[in-house]
């Protein structure tokens, strides 16, 4: 039973169907309902637009910066300037003309714990003379070339775990750039079949961003015989 229905119908029939707050807005030409709803939507709309713009600027910045960094990172290094010197003779190397002497007779230290079955350690004796200046915009590296394959040297840090006695006199590539006289061994982990190779010293010059930009390399042929006991 709809008790209020007649009353309700009467109300609907006579009412102007407008509450006081629903009076037409004579200035804007919009109903207040529309105007109120519009302002309610305007704030998030503006925020969305600002955020969208921020997102766009952010994206363009990251894309641009990333492209610039990719261009900067790709530094072309010309082929190394390689010179081969005879073993057991002193020669000058690098921009400082540091005196170097490499023994042509390296040593085969055999297998060590932690290395694979078919690998062994060999070492090359190196003497580097003292120079007056140290150079900061360079780095150095040692390699042993066997056939067409290059093996980087094992630094003292890696040798320390298994053979601390070897690590004490192990030379590292960075010592090429230092000024004091150095004498020691350069160690390599190589396949068991290796009996000779070329010992390479690389002098890498750096650009202002500390990227390698050029290489000077000096090579000396070496062969490896079994270790002489007690000769450390």
């Amino acid at each position: 039973m709809k008790r209020n229905a007649p009353h309700s119908d009467a109300w609907n029939a006579q009412a102007p169907e407008r509450e006081p707050w629903q009076e037409p807005d004579h200035f804007s030409g919009e109903t207040p309902e529309r105007a109120g709803g519009g302002s309610a939507r305007l704030v998030p709309l503006v925020i969305c637009a600002i955020l969208l713009a921020v997102l766009l600027v952010e994206g363009v910045f990251i894309w641009g910066k990333s492209a610039q960094m990719q261009r900067n990172n790709a530094v072309y290094v010309p082929s190394a300037e390689q010179n081969v010197y005879p073993a057991d003779e002193s020669f000058s190397f690098g921009p400082l003309q540091r005196a170097m002497k490499v023994s042509g007779q390296g040593e085969d230290m055999g297998r060590i714990t932690g290395a694979a079955q078919d690998e062994k350690i060999v070492r090359v004796a190196l003497r580097m003379g003292a120079v007056n200046d140290a150079v900061w915009d360079c780095s150095g590296a040692f390699y042993l070339q066997c056939g067409g394959t290059y093996y980087p040297n094992l630094g003292g840090y890696r040798l320390k775990q298994e053979h601390p006695e070897w690590a004490m006199r192990a030379l590292d590539g960075y010592e090429l750039c230092e000024s004091g006289m150095e004498e020691g061994w350069v160690y390599f982990l190589v396949p068991e079949s290796v009996s000779e190779g070329t010992f390479w010293m690389h002098w890498l010059e750096k650009d202002e961003d500390y990227n390698n930009e050029s290489v000077q390399a000096a090579g000396v042929p070496v062969s490896f015989a079994q270790e002489v006991a007690g000769n450390d």
Binding site: A40, V75, V77, A116
Partner: protein, 161 residues
């Protein structure tokens, strides 16, 4: 009125999502740019590619093995190591991991040889590839330098025999 409120709410939700997007892109961008800052750019090329089937000791059943050889010229400002993390392979089509560089794990080995091609040098590369024939589509394999890095360089392709 209710419809307007719903539209207003929808816009606030959109604004919230945009805030998340701005933050997300910002964080991703910072991580990406930071990684790029450390990533080397590469100048390298390969020549004389040769590939032949092999059966190495320790090979697993269900896989095919190939010896890949080529000569690599490195004019990048970093050494290129001859290992799967620095020189990678992937099929031109199909599952990314249908082809991989075979590097068998031995828990007793703590010190491995790390052959490389130094900066400014030309060196030989030899890799053993492990191929899952069921996941492989076609016979073309791509060879890529720094496959998992920020700026990988595609060196070329080789056809499996």
């Amino acid at each position: 009125m209710i419809e307007d409120t719903r539209k207003g709410m929808g816009l606030w939700v959109l604004a919230g999502l945009l805030v998340l997007a701005v933050l997300g892109v910002g964080i991703w961008g910072a991580v990406h740019l930071s990684a790029l800052n450390m990533a080397p750019g590469w100048y390298a090329s390969m020549e004389g590619v040769e590939i032949e089937p092999v059966q190495p000791e320790g090979a697993e059943e269900g896989y095919n093995y190939y010896r890949l050889r080529f000569v690599l010229t490195n004019n990048s400002n970093q050494d290129i190591f001859i290992a799967g993390w620095n020189l990678g392979v992937a099929p031109a089509k199909g599952d990314r991991y249908a082809v991989d560089v075979w590097e068998p794990w031995d828990e007793n080995v703590t010190m491995e040889t790390e052959p490389c091609v130094p900066v400014g040098c030309i060196g030989d590369v030899e890799l053993i590839l492990e191929v899952d024939p069921e996941e492989m589509e076609g016979k073309t394999v791509q060879i890529t330098l720094d496959p998992y890095g920020e700026m990988p360089l595609k060196l070329g392709e080789v056809e499996l025999p």
